[in-house]
């Protein structure tokens, strides 16, 4: 359960003085931190704070300019790629294919060759696997849901989600947040970048605040008997 995880178990991510330059601009400025497993982290910060860059580095899409990081106990991201799910800012889906065709293809990349994983993932995010419509004709909310399904279809231990609620109506966003809470309760570690912090109030274990390429504070949520009795403690 959230808030009752063993914080002394080996961290899923350890960042060691991570720096990323784009030309002369430092998007990430010496971040060192570690993150325990089985928790839902909400990463907050203004545009340009370095949130997406940090997530892309951890996902293995970008090399850090300096420093290093350990992901699920290894420094080689490819070794643990099958244990990580990534949802980008863009949907990462083919417009010309249907939802199920997209998921079937991406499941194949993870060595899953039957439709069960795709079907379950679509059902989990509230989409109909039978829907034959091409993704190009989906609404923005449906795309985001399908994108989340793509990120979770191989049942990853660690999920890196970059603004999963952008352009999604409030009700769908709440549903998605609740889904993430359930996934975390199954022992998964989830990082969510969002500008809609209130959506995550009931399910987050920790709020990580970023500014100007650095983690400026971390607020742990100590949950009581009810979600309403949650208390934030800054460290």
């Amino acid at each position: 359960m959230a808030g009752t995880n063993d914080l002394h178990s080996s961290p899923v991510i350890v960042l060691e003085n991570l720096v990323k330059f784009f030309g002369r601009f430092a998007a990430i400025r010496g971040i060192s931190a570690s993150f325990a497993p089985g928790r839902l982290y909400v990463v907050l910060g203004d545009n340009g704070a370095g949130k997406s860059t940090l997530l892309r580095i951890v996902a293995g899409l970008m090399e850090p300019s300096q420093g290093s990081f350990t992901l699920l106990g290894t420094k080689k991201v490819r070794e643990v790629a099958h244990r990580v799910g990534y949802m980008g800012h863009a949907p990462l889906l083919y417009d010309e294919l249907s939802g199920m065709e997209n998921l079937r293809y991406f499941a194949g990349l993870y060595g899953l060759h039957n439709d069960d994983a795709g079907r379950n993932a679509m059902q989990m995010v509230g989409l109909d696997p039978q829907l034959g419509r091409r993704v190009g004709q989906y609404s923005q909310g449906m795309r985001q849901r399908l994108s989340l399904a793509r990120a979770v279809l191989h049942d990853p231990e660690l999920m890196l989600l970059d603004e999963p609620f952008s352009n999604v109506d409030v009700r769908s966003a709440r549903d998605m947040a609740a889904i993430l809470g359930k996934v975390r309760d199954q022992g998964k570690t989830i990082f969510v970048i969002t500008h809609q912090a209130p959506l995550m109030e009931g399910v987050a274990d920790e709020f990580v605040h970023m500014s100007a390429g650095q983690i400026v504070s971390r607020e742990e949520v100590v949950r009581g008997a009810t979600a309403e009795s949650a208390v934030r403690t800054t460290r």
């Binding site: 996902a59 293995g60 899409l61 970008m62 090399e63 490819r78 790629a81 099958h82 990580v84 990534y86 980008g88 800012h89 863009a90 949907p91 990462l92 889906l93 083919y94 417009d95 010309e96 294919l97 065709e101 293809y105 991406f106 194949g108 990349l109 993870y110 060595g111 060759h113 091409r134 793509r150």
Partner: protein, 224 residues
């Protein structure tokens, strides 16, 4: 996640998407048709002259038409940043390259199969040498175009003017293969010389460049 399995899945996906959109094949057909018609009016050659110039005309038409398809290859992966989904997966990078190359090979071979009868009609082409040799040249030559083309199209996806960058990088490196294709085709059509040397050269070119592209593709896929 075997290379073969992912290659097949990616190839099937690309063929399905092309079948639905017909982006590449329509553009290639239109371009080649334009070349055939314009050149046939411009030259109006006799059958003998046709045999001498057709090798060059055919391959220039196919080369430029192939560039259209090659530019489309990675455009689909950039829309919605789908390439990132592949890059974060444990799938082997070379499987993506092989699937893209095979897909382009199929598109260009289909184009050649559709356009060759038109070349024969418009230029009154009759081959003096054996036709099977033309087929060998066509297959080896097409592979030479698409293997480098797919690689350089991949290399240029993150550049601002990728449509311009591709021919700038591809054409110089394709010159040896293009010479071999043109000379081999002319040799077969006229029957004046053996195309064996050029066919062997094409085969060696294909093997060398396929190996180099496979070795380097992971680096360019992850370059950011």
């Amino acid at each position: 996640m075997s290379t073969l399995g992912v290659t097949r899945a990616t190839l099937v996906k690309d063929l399905r998407m092309e079948w639905r959109s017909k982006d590449a094949i329509n553009s290639m057909l239109f371009f080649s048709l334009l070349v055939v018609v314009i050149f046939s009016f411009a030259f109006n050659p006799t059958a003998e002259e046709s045999r001498r110039i057709a090798g060059g005309l055919i391959w220039v038409a196919f080369l430029f038409a192939a560039v259209v398809a090659l530019n489309q290859t990675w455009a689909r992966e950039l829309r919605n940043q789908v390439l990132d989904a592949y890059r974060v997966s444990p799938a082997p990078p070379n499987a993506l390259f092989l699937a893209k190359t095979l897909g382009n090979f199929i598109f260009v071979v289909v184009l050649e199969a559709l356009m060759t009868p038109l070349f024969v009609i418009f230029y009154e082409l009759r081959s003096i040498g054996p036709v099977w040799q033309l087929i060998v040249v066509a297959l080896l030559g097409t592979w030479a175009l698409v293997v480098n083309g797919t690689f350089f199209a991949g290399l240029s996806i993150r550049t601002r003017n990728r449509e311009i960058m591709l021919p700038l990088m591809l054409f110089p490196i394709t010159i040896p293969a293009l010479l071999a294709m043109v000379d081999a085709t002319t040799s077969v059509l006229t029957g004046e010389a053996s195309p064996d040397f050029w066919i062997k050269m094409l085969a060696v070119y294909d093997i060398v460049f396929t190996a180099i592209c496979l070795l380097l593709f992971e680096t360019i896929l992850n370059a950011e």
